[in-house]
């Protein structure tokens, strides 16, 4: 496992609260799987815990992450400027498996959207047809849409109807049409809704509060739907954050 001080190349504001950050370093070359995450140390001694952030895209030794300012940790991350470094652990966890099916539906909401971009790119490159549903609260909070459009057709929903279809991501599934496999990442109610709305095979990515991020502290466990070999739980940080739909209780 890698720990490296990545160098900040840039910070770019996407919406009032969402930022895109580029980081450079050797360990980035090992960040091959979409859905994996990095665990960032955002302050010298405070706060005590790292922050898990998904890999959004990788080009050679440059990592792109997209994050929303939530609290203290993401605020500190936002204060980093080009030339500063960020102590980064990763890649961590198990990411999305690349399907062999022909059409994939990607469904993302909020800060669940960034990891799907790396996935969209890899699916597109291997020839899978990609359809993407992205859910936002309102027009002003839309981000990353053009990037997704490079890899497939994009359907947008906003809760207030200020852009695209009014409603939730599930309201756009019919419009998106046929698909063989789905991939989804976002808030738990969304994951549940997508799981329920679909009869196809799929993969979901979970956000759990983490301690260690490496599998040692048991902070991030999820219950399995069906205990397997006596194990009733999995660790989001190590066995996930991506699970097959139906594997864990969301």
């Amino acid at each position: 496992m890698n720990k490296e001080n990545l160098t900040v190349l840039s910070q770019e504001k996407l919406t009032s609260k969402i930022f895109k950050m580029k980081l450079q370093g050797d360990s980035v070359k090992t960040m091959l799987t979409p859905g994996q995450f990095v665990h960032l140390k955002v302050g010298e001694r405070h706060p005590v815990l790292r922050r898990p952030i998904s890999i959004c895209s990788v080009k050679a030794d440059i990592l792109t992450i997209v994050y929303r300012i939530e609290g203290q940790g993401t605020k500190l991350l936002n204060q980093k400027a080009a030339g500063d470094t960020v102590d980064t652990l990763g890649p961590l966890g198990k990411g999305f498996p690349l399907t062999q099916e022909s059409t994939a539906l990607l469904v993302g909401g909020g800060v669940g959207i960034p990891p799907l971009l790396y996935l969209a790119e890899q699916l597109y490159r291997q020839g899978t047809k990609v359809k993407v549903i992205l859910g936002y609260r309102k027009k002003e909070e839309i981000f990353l849409v053009e990037e997704f459009q490079k890899y497939g057709e994009v359907f947008i929903t906003t809760e207030d109807g200020s852009y695209g279809r009014k409603g939730f991501v599930t309201d756009a599934i019919a419009e998106a049409g046929a698909y063989d496999v789905f991939y989804t990442c976002g808030p738990k109610p969304m994951l549940r809704a997508v799981e329920t709305a679909s009869t196809k095979k799929g993969y979901i990515s979970l956000e759990e509060r983490m301690g260690c991020g490496v599998g040692a502290c048991l902070a991030c466990v999820c219950d399995k739907q069906k205990p397997f070999e006596g194990k009733a739980y999995v660790k989001a940080c190590r066995d996930g954050p991506v699970f097959e739909a139906g594997e864990v209780i969301v």
Binding site: M1, V48, R50, G230
Partner: protein
């Protein structure tokens, strides 16, 4: 003898630093970062006789210079641990301190009997102080009579020395320490976590599903140092000190307070290399301080001594 070597009942440690119980699993994850032979010892995650699912999530929350956890003693049960987790650690030349917990005295006895029979378990640590489980544990941790009774019972069945891990959530920790020493404890571990809570003001609810959790990290260090300072003057068994250790300087502070070895918990989450880093820095620091063995520092803050540190 090297500057760092320390000798405690059952634990012959090449250096005085071990990861704290519950913060290091059974070592496999951190072994991907560094060679566990670096460590003075390893305190493994609590074992109970039966499988425990632990508390619902969220199980951690962050606080100023600290964190709350309410894992709730999730573990696969002592049989599974003895059969599947501990053997993996055999390849390292590092003594193991096996943390055990339970609801009843019988639970502790069963866990101690089974785990102490493992070839690479060198000492057991009675977790009488887990703040995150409702039944049993808590009483053992705050009633000197019950703690002493438990210690005696476990001593009878344990094949290795027994350490008692004390709770800081008591009016008089010295009384607890004296009671378990009299009952035959070979050493003390202190401190476990302080009970705390954090409320999410957006929802109006406690962040932890368990509502309360155990506070650890640098925030609690002054409480740990004070308790070790007080207890070490009243008992003659060694103390494994813990609570907010992040640096080699912190280790020295705990020794001066009265510790004979230390455990590092929360710091592992902030930096997976925390333990080996502290060990390296400690060696340097002791050299600068002209200390030939770290044990000389135990209790420095209350012992009178001739040669003052420069």
């Amino acid at each position: 003898m090297s500057r760092l070597q320390v000798e405690l009942p059952g634990l012959n440690m090449k250096n005085p630093v071990m990861p704290a119980s519950g913060c290091f699993g059974f070592g496999q994850e951190y072994a991907e970062f560094y060679d566990l032979n670096k460590l003075g010892a390893v305190a493994v995650k609590a074992a109970t006789p039966e499988i425990r699912a632990g508390n619902p999530t969220p199980r951690v929350a962050e606080t100023e210079s600290g964190m709350l956890n309410a894992i709730g003693l999730q573990n696969p049960g002592v049989d599974h641990i003895v059969k599947n987790e501990l053997p993996w650690l055999e390849k390292f030349h590092v003594p193991i301190l096996a943390n055990i917990a339970g609801k009843t005295e019988e639970d502790y006895i069963e866990a101690a009997r089974k785990i102490s029979a493992s070839s690479n378990v060198h000492a057991v640590e009675l977790n009488v102080s887990c703040p995150n489980v409702k039944e049993g544990g808590l009483q053992f941790g705050s009633d000197p009579g019950m703690a002493a009774g438990l210690t005696k019972a476990v001593k009878k069945v344990s094949e290795v020395p027994v350490y008692v891990k004390l709770s800081p959530n008591v009016t008089n920790i010295t009384e607890m320490a004296e009671a378990v020493e009299a009952a035959g404890a070979d050493g003390l571990s202190m401190i476990n976590t302080l009970v705390g809570m954090k409320i999410d003001i957006r929802t109006g609810k406690p962040i932890l599903a368990n509502k309360t959790g155990g506070l650890s990290g640098p925030a609690v260090k002054p409480v740990a140092v004070r308790m070790i300072y007080e207890v070490s003057q009243k008992v003659s068994i060694p103390i494994i000190g813990m609570g907010g250790i992040y640096t080699a300087e912190d280790v020295i502070e705990f020794f001066m307070a009265g510790a004979s070895a230390v455990a590092v918990g929360t710091a592992n989450f902030s930096d997976p290399f925390a333990c080996p880093q502290i060990i390296d820095d400690l060696d340097e620091l002791l050299k600068e301080m002209n200390v030939s063995n770290i044990s000389e520092l135990t209790g420095r803050s209350w012992k009178s001594w001739e040669k003052s540190l420069s």
